[in-house]
């Protein structure tokens, strides 16, 4: 940690906390992003009656070194980060992935013309984590 301090530019105390934030909260932080699709875009609207639109959402962003409680990551994530940085860079860095989901109800027409209402698990990402 001392090396970093020497490398730190001469900054006034006020900017010091801002300076250190970049280590704790990276700019491109791992978070949930909105994505809305309509089944007509996929040309599935002929057999998917409802819903017309659907927001699966997605997770994107960097996983900082010190993940801990902020991302609900298990200790393993920090261990993998250390392996990546210190031992073997072919081992991937932890990724920003969904941690919790919501189900989705879908109404579809079957090939034989029958109609089915079904509730599917894990269709909408609601929370992200680093893993």
């Amino acid at each position: 940690r001392d090396e970093n301090l020497k490398a730190a530019p001469a900054t006034s105390p006020y900017n010091l906390s801002e300076y250190f934030k970049q280590f704790l909260f990276p700019q491109n932080e791992c978070e949930l992003h909105n994505f809305r699709l309509s089944f007509s875009q996929l040309k599935w609207d002929k057999w998917i009656i409802a819903p017309h639109r659907y927001s699966p959402q997605y997770c994107k962003g960097d996983c900082p070194r010190v993940v801990g409680h902020r991302y609900g990551s298990p200790v393993h994530t920090m261990v993998q980060n250390i392996i990546y940085e210190k031992l073997d860079s072919t081992v991937p860095k932890p990724s920003c992935v969904p941690a919790e989901y919501s189900p989705l109800s879908v109404l579809t027409i079957e090939p034989d013309g029958s109609i089915v209402y079904k509730e599917y698990e894990d269709m909408i990402a609601t929370k992200c984590t680093c893993r």
């Binding site: 996929l42 040309k43 599935w44 002929k46 057999w47 998917i48 009656i49 409802a50 819903p51 659907y54 927001s55 073997d88 969904p98 941690a99 919790e100 989901y101 919501s102 189900p103 989705l104 109800s105 879908v106 109404l107 579809t108 027409i109 079957e110 090939p111 034989d112 013309g113 029958s114 109609i115 089915v116 209402y117 079904k118 509730e119 599917y120 698990e121 894990d122 909408i124 893993r131």
Partner: protein, 304 residues
């Protein structure tokens, strides 16, 4: 994709692939591993398309038969009652089913006879093909769904005597099908207020559906008299109350991994979505009413 929780190889410790996985399973990415192919056939259309990453041109396999418009209206209404605008299952619902299938009878079995003057005798042979029901979808309730096609608006009520019988096809002998079992019941309906009549036939069809019967052949005979049963029902004029041949509604509990299990979220939220979920066993009585459920919510069981 490698199945969860399996160590493929570890450079440092030299751990080899777990004994039961041999090299043949490491197929090219697109080809499904052996174990998944059996499950593939069970996947509902939505997941088949997703698992094929859309390569299968689903439009070319657009449904050959278009659903009955009345049936479609009913199912859209059921969807609105069960899900929010964004399509998320409503949490205030404590029903046990996570799947509802509606089958319309195949057309060639419909025929009507009877003399309207003596009360509308409505008899129809119904053949339902239940191929779409998967082995993991367990029946909770089955309903015959009637709708009224009144060309003449009438305000009175209708009392009907209904005879329901299941026909058994003994394919070995070409003799006409024998009737395996039948029930009779009466029905009093205020036509003006109701567009649909739902007749619960769960206990009647349960023996057939429980034995994975793919085709159900039944005869339904309705004798309907206009007016209130207390006064002597008169037939002022012949009312072409055509009971449209019913659809068959199956309320099912899909225990596959992909289906949403409401009682899981009622009881406890899964903390780690990656860890494979233990299947929560659910003792369910087919009629769904006296079913023992494992949801901890007192309110849910009391509401039943």
């Amino acid at each position: 994709p490698h199945s969860r929780g399996r160590v493929v190889s570890d450079k440092t410790s030299g751990l080899l692939v777990a004994p039961e996985d041999n090299a043949s399973e490491l197929n090219p990415l697109l080809q499904l591993p052996k174990g998944a192919r059996r499950g593939y056939a069970l996947l509902p259309p939505l997941l088949k398309v997703l698992s094929d990453r859309g390569h299968q041109n689903w439009e070319s396999e657009a449904p050959r038969l278009q659903p009955d418009s009345r049936a479609l209206r009913y199912m859209k209404r059921l969807y609105k009652m069960s899900a929010t605008k964004e399509g998320i299952p409503k949490t205030n619902k404590s029903h046990l089913y996570n799947t509802v299938r509606l089958f319309t009878p195949c057309s060639e079995c419909k025929h009507r006879h009877g003399d309207l003057m003596k009360g509308d005798v409505h008899s129809v042979d119904l053949l339902f093909n239940l191929d779409r029901v998967t082995a993991l979808e367990h029946l909770l309730k089955s309903v015959l769904l009637y709708s009224f096609d009144t060309s003449v608006p009438i305000s009175s009520s209708i009392t009907c005597m209904c005879h329901l019988s299941v026909k058994e096809h003994d394919f070995s002998s070409q003799v006409c099908p024998s009737v395996s079992h039948t029930i009779a019941f009466s029905l009093h309906v205020e036509v003006r207020k109701r567009k649909w009549v739902e007749i619960d036939v769960t206990s009647f069809l349960q023996p057939l559906i429980a034995t994975n019967r793919r085709n159900i052949h039944m005869a339904v005979n309705f004798t309907c008299l206009m007016g209130d049963p207390q006064q002597t029902p008169k037939l002022e004029n012949s009312v072409s109350v055509a009971l449209v041949p019913p659809s068959l509604l199956l309320y099912l509990n899909d225990t596959s991994e992909q289906a949403y299990h409401r009682w899981n979220s009622l009881g406890h939220r899964r903390k780690n979505p990656v860890r494979p979920r233990q299947r929560s066993s659910l003792l369910v009585d087919p009629t769904g009413d006296r079913g023992r459920e494992f949801s901890q919510g007192k309110r849910a069981s009391r509401r039943r």
